[in-house]
């Protein structure tokens, strides 16, 4: 079997196994085929890790594969990796360039406000990185970038939002008003709920959704801040809409679909209902024969 086939099989398996044990299952699958490690770890979302930034009053930040280097994670607040990397390693650590870092700071600021308004608590972090020419055929490191927008809230129950973003300029669609930009967002929301009051019940898992939109951005100006504000507005509007739609989907799947499926396995009323329907039909038949 080729590595590609094994990778597809691993993804299919992860969709069929207990979603609360994604990390254990990943370890198990990598144990079966160590060559899958890199691809699986970078493509399978699991619950976000929380760390504190010692250089920013121990403020909490969120960690995933996108802000990881070796065993350290970059903080969006101080733009440093913790635990600190030694000099040799840190020379090669990825950072957004200085212009993109400005947009990253702006995004962190705005999404923190968004988080307060919608989550009333929790943690947010945004990480951006430059898209190099060799990474993307149409990519232009001057204008294109990618990133990830993260939210986490947990007290009783856990919610993790992971939005992976890619922004690319379409050079063919530019004019006196600026250029058209394509925004691609892949969202995964991981939601775990559990209650052991009388019986044990666990309602857990994740839903994924892809969204793509084009917006015009006036990028003819020399004013970098105004270009950044345009991007932030487009990204912010998109994320707000996606999260609202996803919240509805989660509510439907978690609290209607799973209950409906349960009722297909055990339900005294359903069998009675069918029984009644049958009686009703017979009654009507009987009336028609009159």
């Amino acid at each position: 079997m080729s590595l590609d086939e094994k990778y597809d099989a691993a993804l299919d398996l992860l969709r069929r196994l207990d979603p609360t044990k994604v990390k254990t299952n990943l370890t198990n699958l990598i144990n079966l085929e160590p060559e899958l490690a890199e691809d699986l770890l970078s493509s399978v979302d699991s619950q976000l890790i929380v760390k504190r930034d010692p250089d920013s009053s121990s403020k909490e930040y969120l960690c995933c594969d996108y802000n990881r280097d070796i065993d350290s994670y970059r903080s969006p607040w101080s733009n440093k990796y913790f635990p600190e990397l030694n000099e040799d390693d840190s020379q090669e650590s990825p950072f957004p360039n200085s212009q993109l870092r400005k947009l990253e700071v702006m995004c962190n600021d705005s999404f923190e406000i968004y988080k307060d308004l919608y989550y009333e608590g929790g943690i947010s972090s945004v990480y951006l990185w430059n898209l190099e020419d060799e990474d993307s055929e149409r990519g232009d490191s001057e204008t294109d970038f990618a990133g990830v927008i993260l939210f986490k809230k947990g007290n009783i129950g856990d919610w993790d939002s992971i939005h992976v973003l890619e922004v690319t300029r379409s050079p063919d669609n530019s004019g006196i008003e600026g250029s058209e930009y394509n925004y691609k967002v892949t969202t995964t929301i991981i939601l775990h709920l559990e209650d052991k009051t009388n019986i044990d019940i666990k309602l857990a898992g994740n839903l994924t959704k892809q969204t793509e939109k084009n917006f015009m951005v006036n990028d003819l100006t020399d004013n970098l801040e105004s270009i950044h504000i345009a991007h932030l507005t487009n990204i912010g509007t998109m994320i707000e809409d996606i999260e609202s739609q996803m919240r509805n989907s989660l509510e439907t799947v978690y609290f209607e679909k799973t209950r409906d499926i349960f009722q297909q396995t055990r339900n005294p009323n359903l069998t009675n209902l069918e029984y009644n329907k049958e009686q009703h039909e017979q009654l009507i038949k009987g009336l028609q024969n009159f």
Binding site: N31, S110, I113, Y114, L117, K153, G157, I199, I201, P268
Partner: protein, 270 residues
């Protein structure tokens, strides 16, 4: 036990109901044909350990478990052969992956155990899925184990659901000693959502309720409690995670002005 076997066991034990066949194929793709016997044996154990419905070639159903495995010194390979105690003790050979069975001998001389009519009626009334009920000898002291399993599988719409309960009963005294109920629901269109519920019961009060009455009581209580706690997950947990609308009750005003929210908040807290 080899590490390979432990890993395979961990994975199989996490399987969603009704999805053994794709899981078997995926594991075979990843581990290669050398792992096939270990994977098959692990699936055999899993099927027996939890109790599993097998569809027979005469359209009947049989629950396979640790308590109805056919054993015969003359037969070389009996690991896929089971006794259908509740159906004249017929002997059935099953496929552990497709969960289909073929009747080998319909008039075997094993003892036949009839299932109580009241229990049958209770199950018929309460389980609209593909249900099956079984009663097998549990030990040498005259105890029996009762299985009630109800499956509803819908692969084409990406969901599967299962109810499983089992009880240890004393037929002479007509009482239940202990039992366990498991619910397992999987929804996997655009994601992977699992709803699992479980409770173990023991007859602490030494209730003299009949077998069927106590099973019905436990299962009704369980179902009522499940709906109640389920509703609490929605009202008390889910709704506390992310609001439908922001605190301000209108969509966020993105752009430069977003800082005003903070100014407002600071002003308010001053």
């Amino acid at each position: 036990m080899s590490e390979f076997k432990t890993v395979i066991q961990n994975i199989i034990n996490d399987a969603s109901p009704g999805e053994l066949e794709p899981i078997f194929n995926d594991l075979l793709t990843i581990s290669g044909v050398n792992g096939k016997d270990t994977i098959l044996n692990t699936i055999r154990e899993y099927n027996k350990e939890r109790g599993t419905i097998v569809h027979l070639n005469d359209n009947g159903k049989l629950i396979i478990s640790n308590y109805n495995q056919f054993q015969n010194e003359e037969e070389e390979d009996t690991k896929d052969i089971f006794i259908d105690y509740n159906n004249n003790g017929q002997i059935v050979k099953i496929d552990p992956i497709t969960l289909k069975g073929t009747i080998l001998d319909s008039s075997a001389e094993t003892k036949s155990i009839p299932i109580d009519t009241a229990l049958k009626q209770y199950v018929e009334k309460n389980f609209p899925g593909t249900y099956s009920i079984a009663m097998y000898p549990y030990n040498n002291e005259g105890k029996y184990i009762i299985y009630i399993i109800s499956d509803k599988y819908n692969e084409s719409n990406f969901w599967n659901g299962q109810w499983r309960s089992h009880y240890i009963v004393d037929m002479d005294k007509n009482t239940v000693e202990e039992g366990e109920i498991n619910v397992d629901v999987h929804y996997y269109e655009d994601g992977n959502v699992r709803f699992q519920s479980n409770k173990k019961y023991t007859n602490d009060l030494d209730s003299d309720q009949s077998i069927v009455d106590l099973i019905e009581k436990w299962e009704t209580d369980f179902t009522n409690e499940l709906y109640k706690q389920f509703e609490n997950l929605n009202q008390k947990q889910f709704k506390g995670l992310r609001r439908k609308l922001p605190v301000t009750r209108s969509k966020v005003n993105w752009g430069k002005a977003i800082g005003n929210y903070r100014l407002g908040k600071d002003a308010a807290s001053r």
